[in-house]
């Protein structure tokens, strides 16, 4: 075989590949370019920066110092613990509430079902800052906060919901209040996803169960929950990511305080990067969070994945 024949065959392969897939690649090119420039490149840059001490006139390589410093930092450890507590409770409640709500609205007439789906989706299209401001007012420590006003009608309070750092049930009052404000906000995306998934469960399964004498709870437990497992996995993962990245609620409601009671990791990242200008340490914090989220997501995937087919 001559070299020219080999080159010609290679060129032919390229032409065939291009004629077969070229249009597809052209279509994804803008999106790919956007991804490379605005996601991949900044991520790579951020990773490099996490090993540097940032300076206006050039950064200095510090190896693992930023990461090791964080592991020794009591404020970071407190923020990490707060984030884990927040995530565990909010994700568990969000998933449960979304599944129950979707199950409750599923048997409703189509018009009513559409109404509730739209109503429950409202929080997703409402400004997170606005929602946090409303909760700040509701939980205001003074008598003019809604919750304290209600308590005062019963001769109780005022309670420093978001200004009390004292220990309570394994965390502190202020953190529990932030968690409460989150779990009482309807998990909009979950409701919609579960509603769509419920529509895909064959009715015959429920009819067969009814024939066997199963009640509503038994059908929910033995048919609905297992068959929703793939969606539960997805919902759990996206809510875990959202919970670990909690920021605006903390920023607006408590500013991370009192003390460090409601500091979370993303709040610390913001503070370290934008207030201290310490972008190297902020990048290291971001990548530690990235690693934690990735690990938790993998664990969730392993625990919840299933081979359900229906």
């Amino acid at each position: 075989m001559t070299a020219s024949a080999s080159v010609a065959r290679g060129a032919g392969r390229v032409r065939r590949f291009w004629s077969r897939y070229g249009a597809g690649y052209l279509f994804v090119a803008p999106s790919l370019l956007f991804f490379l420039v605005f996601i991949f490149f900044p991520l790579g840059w951020s990773f490099v920066l996490s090993f540097q001490e940032f300076g206006f006139r050039g950064s200095t390589w510090v190896g693992l110092d930023n990461y090791l410093g964080l592991l020794r930092d009591p404020i970071f450890r407190q923020a990490a613990l707060n984030t884990v507590i927040y995530s565990v409770f909010t994700v568990a409640v969000w998933v449960l509430v979304a599944m129950v709500l979707a199950t409750l609205i599923h048997p409703l007439p189509p018009r009513l079902r559409t109404f509730f789906r739209a109503a429950y989706y409202l929080p997703a299209v409402t400004s997170a800052v606005f929602i946090a401001l409303v909760w700040k007012w509701i939980l205001n420590a003074n008598p003019w906060g809604l919750a304290n006003h209600v308590l005062s009608l019963f001769g109780a309070g005022p309670v420093g919901f978001i200004s009390d750092p004292s220990s309570f049930a394994g965390a502190n009052v202020a953190l529990w209040s932030v968690i409460l404000s989150s779990v009482l906000t309807i998990p909009a995306v979950g409701v919609v996803l579960y509603s769509a998934a419920l529509a895909g469960i064959p009715q015959e399964l429920y009819e067969a169960a009814e024939t066997e004498g199963a009640g509503a709870l038994a059908k929910f437990r033995h048919i609905t929950v297992p068959l929703l497992k793939p969606i539960t996995l997805y919902v759990a993962i996206i809510y875990t990511i959202a919970a670990f990245e909690v920021f605006e609620r903390v920023y607006v409601m408590t500013g991370g305080g009192p003390g460090y009671a409601t500091n979370t990791i993303v709040y610390l990242i913001w503070r370290t990067g934008f207030r201290f200008g310490d972008y190297g340490v902020a990048s290291a914090q971001a990548f530690l969070l990235f690693a934690v989220i990735a690990t938790v997501s993998v664990l969730q995937f392993r625990a919840l994945r299933s081979e359900v087919e229906y």
Binding site: L43, F56, P158, F244, G257, G259, G277, S283, A286
Partner: protein
């Protein structure tokens, strides 16, 4: 939402820095370019510069949408009229951490403004990195004689003056006259003591009214007045040692702790926002509050009758207050003529001349003897009188971090989670390693 969202966190940090990739190699320094003569801002002193000056102003909204923006537009018009050929382009940046991050990113990338307004506590950070062009080469003897010496020191870092000092809003104590009147309590004199203040705060606390409120959040010094007036300081004189946990500091913090325990401060005082303190004062919920001179406009606008007093006298034995300083800084640039022109604009914006050209330009007492803000705004007089008693926070590169360690611990002490001594010691544990760097 998707898995990709987890990538957002690192991106938040990085996107702000991508522009910094183009950092230009500029040499820090501070000498006036050859042939450039420092002087006033009139045509004779324009230095012959013809061209654009980019001015970044925190909180500016184009088109004169706010009162502050109107003042800026008027100052630009006045300066351009006196300096034909100079075209000033004002860019507004948000008066918050995001705005400051944008400024930092632009400075890191070397494509920042020619002049920008900045608080003095951020100067050391820029100074340590050689980002700024010091004003020393442009300071005339006239300037040195005019600017109050303790205020000129407020922009000094490692022997160089980093920015043009404009004004100083010292922290004063606002008293709501109506609440005092309703309670039948007389407004005290300016030489009131901490004991007087404590008693008043408790006497004025009634159903729906708290005697005292102060902001305890980051990037502020409000609550520190009650520690400084006892003689405490955050660091020692040469900024090498943490000293806030001194007996004076503990005594000052204990005043806040006692007031909270006595119910004379609102239950959310540890997390209340700065604006909410002022709003509570306006609404008649707080009888006294701490605040800078910037509150005057808002209070007058809401037709609130108030009295401003200096902080009560503590163990320091004299009036002591704390404050920051508003300054105009000029970044290092490759174009010496443009940099010199920016310095001349900086001098103008911090002079008595601009006050004559633009009525109401100074929203706080000016740093020069030639500026008398109280002549146009009588309520400013108590703040002007406090100027000689102002203590500034230490000018160190890591002040933002030090500041971030102070307030949470004070909040914990006030909440009763820690004693005053424990809280102040805990700050020291965080701050001391920074001082050793």
């Amino acid at each position: 939402m998707s898995r990709g969202r987890s990538a957002i966190t690192p991106m938040i940090v990085t996107l702000a820095l991508v522009l910094a990739a183009c950092t230009t190699g500029q040499t820090p320094g501070g000498s006036a370019p050859a042939g450039q003569t420092p002087g006033g801002s009139g045509p004779a002193a324009s230095g012959g510069y013809q061209g654009t000056i980019d001015w970044w102003q925190l909180g500016y909204a184009p088109g004169g949408e706010t009162a502050a923006a109107k003042l800026v537009d008027a100052a630009v018009a006045a300066y351009e009229a006196k300096n034909p050929g100079v075209d000033i382009v004002v860019t507004g940046i948000p008066f918050d951490d995001q705005g400051l991050a944008r400024l930092d990113t632009a400075l890191a990338a070397g494509n920042g403004p020619d002049i920008f307004r900045i608080a003095s506590d951020r100067l050391p950070g820029y100074g340590a990195q050689g980002v700024l062009s010091p004003i020393d080469a442009y300071l005339t003897e006239e300037d040195k004689a005019d600017i109050l010496p303790n205020l000129l020191e407020g922009v000094e870092y490692e022997g160089r003056h980093l920015a043009w000092p404009q004004w100083v809003p010292p922290i004063g104590f606002y008293l709501n006259n109506a609440i005092f009147e309703d309670a039948g309590v007389a407004i005290p004199d300016a030489d009131w003591t901490v004991e007087d203040f404590q008693q008043l705060a408790q006497d004025l606390t009634t159903d729906g009214v708290y005697g005292f409120a102060t902001y305890m959040g980051p990037a502020s010094v409000n609550e520190l007045t009650l520690l400084y007036n006892q003689g405490a300081t955050v660091l020692n004189e040469d900024n090498t040692e943490y000293t806030l946990n001194s007996p004076e500091g503990v005594k000052g913090l204990q005043v806040l702790v006692d007031l909270f325990e006595a119910g004379a401060m609102p239950p959310d005082i540890t997390t209340i926002a700065l604006a909410d303190v002022e709003q509570g004062f306006i609404d008649g919920r707080f009888a006294m509050m701490t605040g800078g001179s910037g509150s005057i406009t808002n209070l007058k606008g809401n037709e609130i009758e108030f009295t401003v007093l200096p902080p009560p006298i503590g163990d320091a034995g004299e009036t002591v207050t704390v404050g920051g300083m508003g300054t105009y800084a000029v970044p290092q640039k490759d174009d010496p003529a443009r940099m010199a022109a920016a310095h001349r604009l900086g001098r103008y914006l911090t002079s008595a001349e601009v006050a004559e050209d633009v009525e109401g330009w100074y929203l706080a007492p000016g740093t020069r003897k030639s500026i008398k803000v109280s002549e146009t705004t009588p309520e400013m007089a108590p703040f002007e009188e406090m100027l000689a008693s102002v203590r500034f926070m230490p000018l160190i590169e890591d002040w933002a971090e030090v500041d971030s360690f102070i307030h949470p611990e004070i909040q914990l002490a006030v909440s009763g989670e820690k004693s005053a001594q424990e809280a102040l010691d805990a700050i020291g544990e965080q701050v001391t390693p920074l001082l050793g760097e």
